[in-house]
Symmetry: C2
Subunit: 126 residues, 2 copies
């Protein structure tokens, strides 16, 4: 819960490949080889990235025989968001501008959920 965990989570998420893996796992669970096939890196690199994400507690591994099934466990992002929330007043306006981007990017999220960002902004007015 401390600085260290924040370091781990933020540096894990600072890598574009790892963000892509998380984005992919948002769609469905996947095995290591499946992930490796979907990204332009080797199986070994994929394995390493997964280990980093595991250390950051952003994914969870379920071993079933020889298959390792990865699933998203993004609770750890909460700490990062909590830290950034301290700077809320700075990015409030910017979030509004980025709202369109998020909505366009989150195709699997087009129902009543879509007002999440607006909810954040309105909840933070002073």
């Amino acid at each position: 819960m401390g600085e260290y965990q924040l370091d781990t989570v933020l540096s894990a998420v600072a890598d574009p490949t790892r963000r892509a893996i998380l984005d992919r796992l948002r769609v469905s669970d996947a095995r290591v080889t499946e992930l490796a096939r979907e990204f332009p890196i080797s199986l070994n690199s994929t394995s390493k990235h997964i280990k980093v994400l595991e250390r950051a507690q952003l994914v969870e591994r379920h071993v079933r025989g020889r298959d390792h099934v990865l699933s998203l466990r993004a609770e750890a992002l909460g700490e990062a968001v909590a830290w950034m929330t301290q700077y809320r007043e700075f990015w409030e306006q910017r979030l509004a501008a980025l709202e369109a981007f998020v909505l366009a990017d989150a195709d699997s999220d087009v129902d009543g959920d879509t007002d999440a960002v607006a909810g954040t902004t309105s909840g933070a007015e002073r």
Copy 2:
């Protein structure tokens, strides 16, 4: 606005010293030497960290004579928060648990602002 900016911001913020600098600048603007005095690193290291934060557009530099005054410009965090918002459903519950932590940590924030996280959480309920 793209992946690159996200990389820059997240990796900038992944370093504890740089987060400490941002936290410090939340209190007030400061010169490079002032910041260096307040952290257990050399003036040169401080200068480098500031350059990283500048590149990520998290701080702004105003040169007045030989003094370089740094001020917080954390709008760039909006993009990071926007990305993490896609994982909102995962950290919602966790944010509630971390709320106490944020409140305890943000001493300069003890007025009506304190319901910010709660606002986010309630705004995102489904």
